[in-house]
Every structure is written in structure tokens, then in C-alpha cells.
Assembly symmetry: C2
């Protein structure tokens, strides 16, 4: 008889999570609540953000309650339903959990998805998930690029950064990426068609700023910021007049003991730049529209997103830890069924 | 026989200017160049920016050449002219110099002014000059306030800050100002009709942030930033969702040995705020339109701008130094004629 395996958070991690913080249990498959449905999860997104949700700290999402399964975006198939808009067999995307079956309902990010337009349903967790759509809306709707402009990306070899750079090329921009190490820089050029790549490792702000200037003597019309700190300080020394800075992430700060911020804020004033704090959630009503465009670009071979698909709910802890060991390359996805 | 006294820069100041850096000379009154005219200067604006122009350092304006009179915005009367658009007797505003008579020409910021709408032509150097118009366009055109929103101003007792706060009240905003010392805070409330005033002196970022929160528990929809550093860090902890930050000045940095910037940049992302680097020059084509509105507000008693008018070109050095001793209250103006 089929069961519902669930990966529960049973203790709040102290620093790096350990296996004892979790428990894999087996329960009966749930039944649909009034107006809701039950999803058979096929793929789940694994992201650094989930580590934050395990802490008992205020954030843009509430902490995961102890004893609940670990919250995750999943794509799966409606298993049983009390809602005619989500009939059994319908593929759906939603904020569910690391478990075989999730109770779901319309609302929030729950939406039907069309898997006929992608080579794998997992694409709804990468190219057409938060990662891809963060890049899509951040570049096209926040920065509003014009063909011929320049685009400078930090964290460029990351999942978001590599999508932003490729969409930048589709939009007719000159694209320069900043990444850590020669191998990542090689991928920016060879895999993602960036015009230039700069390795930030071991360089002072002044040195890095000079390398950016050499690659972009005309300055950056758009900066897509994933990193912050010294890298951002070097970028701000290369703003073109009236540049737009999309502030998407500050990963250099996430494990820092205190806030770092930026020192070269004066450049924002002197160059009359605009800095946009950006969260993709605002664009949720347009996710389907954007996803269809992303799917078309992928089908045409113009957009590539690398996925690191690992299998088995029983391996969840080990797979999740790939995020922090640097073992994963591309968007990390757990295949559940 | 009338002469043209000119206050020349003869040596680049090292730190605080000394009298030997300047020379007051007397020359013949110039004659109009083809298409140009000569202005009899009546009032000249004295601003901290002029100190910057005395240095041989790149900025948004070229350095004042040694041997030239000190550049200044002036308002005066056309004395002689080779241009029918600027006939003798016409009052004009323009970027001229600290001298009795300046050679001028159409273009740039040179424009005829209507002195019938103001109680003194000096108003074109304060309320309707860069100071007033910086506040006007920065608040109304960059931040685009909606009645009922909240406005937080740093450097609020300064010439720009006090104008921003008063226009904020005209626009129906709740206005809170941050200033240094009890006397300045008293003026914010009593002279400029702010809703609340906060003294930043001697307070940590956390302490100041808590005082802002007490005055604005709903957070700041708009921040008008003149200061930067710790004050801005405290403000950023009080952003309302989707706040707009007008980055107008960072006076805490001007004499600092290195750039300070901000540490709480994360808040810009988390609150989806937008930060606008802002220079008023972009709005030059609309200065006359805005000046007329400002004049109307002044005539109606809704806008007050304090001027510190000192007299005599022979006293220029002493008057200029009032900017740095803290002696001046209100916009510093030198009356030449």
C-alpha cells in the first residue's frame, strides 16, 4: 500500500544542519480538503533559502514549524481533488514540502503548468521557476534594457546570473560577468555566451574596478547585483550615467557576522543612478506568460539552464547539503517520483 | 569712474581657505562679446560647492582656473548687451563669478528672471535657486509623493532639507526631520511646520533607528537623504515597503578621509525600495515654472526660506568663511550692489 514519506524538521539547526535535525517518517496519503487537492510531488526545488526558513527568525516567510515537513517549491500531478479547476492528472506547481504527497489549494503560487512545452517538468523549478523568472523580470521589467546597452552581472555563474546574462544577449546587450575562479569564467563565455568574464578572486576593489573598466570602458548601463560587498563597490566605480542597478541578492552578506553594505554610494548620486530593491514575487501574476517565453528560448537553443537533478526522498539530507559544499553545478533539484 | 572689482582665486587652498588664496583686484568694466552681454551682479550665492571647485580635482564642474574670479551663481541686471533677448535693464540669473560685472551669454543656466514676483532678487539664489529647486524637484518629481504618505528628511534644518519638509507639508505628507541639536529641532517644528524632529547627536545607529520608529511606526514612504553614514543606516531600518529614497547629498562624507557608504543596504532589497541618485541640473528647463510656484507659496506664507544676506564684495572672504564656522543661518548670499 502506497504511503506518504515526509522529510520533517524536528530540531532547529545550529549553524550547518546535521542529520539529527530531520526525520523521514511515513504516513497515510492525505485526502483533499474541501475545495483543495492532493499533489503527488515529482520534483522539489532545493535552495539556500530553505536553510533560512529552518531558523526561528523573522523573514519574508514564516519559520517552518518543528514537526512539519521542510517547505519546498514542487512540481507534481494532482492525485485526488475536491476542486474542478485542479482535476486528477493535472500538473501543478506550488509551495508544498519535501514529501511524496502534499495537501494543496488554489491561491498563492499554486498554478497549473503545461509540461508539453519543456523537456522535463523540473524546468518549472529552474528556468521557469523562481531562478529563471527572477532573472527574466529583474532584467526585462526592472532594468528595462535597450539594445546596445551594457550589462554587468555579479555572481554571474550562479543560476540567476547565468540566466540574466543569456537573456541580456537575447535583448542585444553587451554582457560582462563577474565570477569566482577560472572554471566559472570559462563557462560564462563558452556555455552562456557572455562577451567577457572577470574573476574577482584575490583582487582588491581598485584592481577589480580596473578590470571592469578594461572590459566596459563605456561604463555599465545596467548592473545586476547578486553579491554586494567589495564586488559591488568595484562595480559602482564603473557606472555609466543614469545607470540602473537591480539589487537582487547580497550573498556576500548571508553568513557575515554583520552587515557590510557598500562604500561607494557616492557614485550612485554622482552618476544619477537608480538602485532597485527587487523581489520576484511581485510578478507572480505574469509567471505563466514569462515561463512560456523562456520555454520557447530553450527550445530554440538560445537559453541554457543547467540542472543538478538528484533522486530519492530518502537521500534528501545528503542532496540538500550539496548546496553548501559547492558540489552542485546548476540548479539543484530533488526528483521524488 | 566705475570699475569692476573681481575676487580672484590665486592659489589652491590646502584644507580650510586662507585670505592669501584670494586677491581682490580692480579692472575696467568689460564690453559685451558678439551675441553676449555684461551683467551688473547684485547678489551672489555662496555655497560649500565652491570650495570643491577651488581644488584641482575632477568633479561635475571643472576646477576654477587660477587667476580667474571665483565662480558663483549670481542675479543681476544687464548692463550692456549685444543680444536683443537680453536688453539692458533685464534682470538675469546665471553662472557668473564673484565680481561687480560679468561677461555672459545665452545658454546653460542663464535666464531672464521676473523680480516682480519676489520680495528680493536674492530669492532667485535661495527659494528659487538651486537650493529651493533641488528640494522642489527632488521631492515632487523624483519621489512623486501621494497625500497621506510619510517623509523622513536628514539634514532637515539645512537650506534644502527645510524646503523639502515644507513642500512635503503642502503635499499633504507626514514630515519627520533629523537634525543636529535641540535648537535646529525647535526650528523644524516652529519655523517649518514639521510634524516631528529628531536630534541625531550622540546617538548610536540602533538608538536613532528606535527614535525614528517611535516617530514613524508605519515606516518612511519617502526618505530625502542629505547626510549618509550612520544617519542613513538608521533611516534604512525604517523603510516602508516600496519606499523611495532620494539620494541628494552625503555631507557626512565630504570631509571624511575615505568613503563611508551605508551598511544596511539589505533593507533596500528586503523592502523593495528604490534609491534615486539625484542632481537638479536635469530639471533646468523647468526652473522658471517651478520658481513661479515657489514664489506663490512664499507670497501665501506657506513656504519660508531663511536667507543670511551679507554685504560687500570687499568682505567676500569673511562672508564665505561663515559657511564653515557654522555662523550662518539660512541660505548665505553676498549682496554686491
Amino acid at each position: 500500500m502506497p504511503e506518504n514519506r515526509r522529510f520533517l524538521l524536528v530540531r532547529r539547526p545550529h549553524g550547518t544542519p546535521v542529520p539529527e535535525d530531520f526525520s523521514l517518517v511515513s504516513e497515510a496519503i492525505p485526502t483533499p480538503p474541501p475545495g483543495g487537492f492532493v499533489v503527488r510531488n515529482h520534483y522539489a526545488s532545493l535552495d539556500p533559502a530553505q536553510r533560512g526558513w529552518m531558523d526561528d527568525a523573522p523573514s519574508y516567510m514564516p519559520p517552518i514549524p518543528l514537526g512539519d515537513p521542510v517547505r519546498a517549491t514542487t512540481v507534481g500531478v494532482v492525485h485526488s481533488s475536491d476542486n474542478p479547476d485542479f482535476p486528477p492528472g493535472q500538473w501543478v506547481l506550488g509551495m508544498n514540502a519535501l514529501e511524496d504527497y502534499s495537501v494543496s489549494a488554489p491561491g498563492g503560487f499554486t498554478m497549473p503548468v503545461d509540461i508539453s512545452i519543456v523537456d522535463s517538468p523540473s524546468k518549472y523549478l529552474s528556468a521557469m521557476g523562481a531562478v529563471g523568472l527572477t532573472g527574466y523580470f529583474g532584467l526585462l521589467e526592472v532594468a528595462k534594457p535597450q539594445a546596445g546597452e551594457t550589462l554587468l552581472i555579479s555572481g554571474a555563474a550562479g543560476a540567476v546570473g547565468s540566466v540574466v546574462g543569456q537573456i541580456g544577449k537575447i535583448a542585444g546587450l553587451k554582457v560582462v560577468g563577474i565570477a569566482g575562479g577560472g572554471e566559472k569564467c570559462r563557462r560564462l563565455i563558452e556555455d552562456y555566451s557572455f562577451d567577457a568574464a572577470i574573476d574577482y578572486k584575490g583582487k582588491s576593489v581598485e584592481h577589480l574596478a580596473a578590470e571592469i573598466h578594461a572590459a566596459l570602458p563605456e561604463g555599465a548601463n545596467i548592473i545586476f547585483e547578486n553579491v554586494g560587498g567589495d564586488v559591488m563597490d568595484a562595480e559602482l566605480l564603473n557606472l555609466a550615467k543614469k545607470a540602473r542597478v537591480v539589487l537582487c541578492g547580497l550573498i556576500s552578506e548571508y553568513n557575515a557576522p554583520e552587515r557590510i553594505g557598500v562604500r561607494n554610494l557616492w557614485q550612485v548620486l554622482a552618476q544619477e543612478a537608480t538602485l532597485y530593491g527587487y523581489l520576484v514575487m511581485d510578478y507572480a501574476p505574469r509567471f505563466a506568460e514569462a515561463g512560456a517565453i523562456m520555454a520557447e528560448w530553450m527550445a530554440e537553443g538560445r537559453l541554457r539552464i543547467d540542472e543538478d537533478v538528484q533522486t530519492g526522498l530518502e537521500n534528501t539530507y545528503d542532496v540538500f547539503m550539496r548546496l553548501f559544499s559547492g558540489a552542485n553545478t546548476g540548479k539543484l533539484v530533488l526528483q521524488i517520483a
